[in-house]
Amino acid sequence: MSTLYLVVAIAEAAVAALLTVRLGLGPTTCDRIVALNALTTQAMLALLFFAAYADRTGYLDAALWPASFGYLGTIIWARYLERGLL
């Protein structure tokens, strides 16, 4: 069971590696935002599953930052592209 959690965490990190390619070569800024959003989600999943593997509930709270502020960051980026931040 514990090894299964670790395998899932490694696989999510490997998916994040695929998304890094699009982050590097996305032709427009919106492509990079899409890739960064999905990469944050994958990192959050890897973090949750690593916490379940290590059996430390203290690791779980760090996953709430990417979950909440990753999407809020996407909304802020979209607003910045549309009409400027300030």
């Binding site: 069971m1 299964l4 959690y5 899932v8 696989a11 999510e12 998916v15 695929l18 998304l19 390619v21 699009r22 996305g26 032709p27 427009t28 919106c30 492509d31 935002i33 899409v34 890739a35 959003n37 999905a38 989600t41 994958q42 959050m44 999943l45 949750l48 599953f49 916490a51 379940a52 509930t57 779980l60 709270d61 996953a63 709430l64 979950a67 909440s68 999407y71 809020l72 996407t74 909304i75 980026w77 979209a78 607003r79 592209l81 549309e82």
Partner: protein, 129 residues
Amino acid sequence: MREVLVAGAALVGLFFSLSAAVGILRMPDVYTRIQCSSKTVTMGVLPALAALVIGEGAFSQYGARALLIVALLGVLNPVAAHALARAAYRTGVPMWHGAVQDESLEDAAKKSGDPGDGRGGDGSGKRRG
């Protein structure tokens, strides 16, 4: 039995996450990539968190965090995808050259009394990616 359920749910989630990554890599323009990102990432996160809830129990700390993240994701992911698509359209990111429909442009043309043909972004739709 429980391990089989956890492995199956995690496998479904991983399949959808991988298809999201391949879609974001291979799709031709921004709007199709946003579509891949929003729907498929949601569908990839939900079974993975369901695997965590099944494996650790809904009333453990893992299950509580997983359900909280599901609630956050269900509210924020469509909002983020909508805001991103609107920002991309307003800043004039061109569509793929094979795109056939642009209803926002048609509406704008209808409102100003000018029949538009409703094709492709700002008309300079080069193939990208």
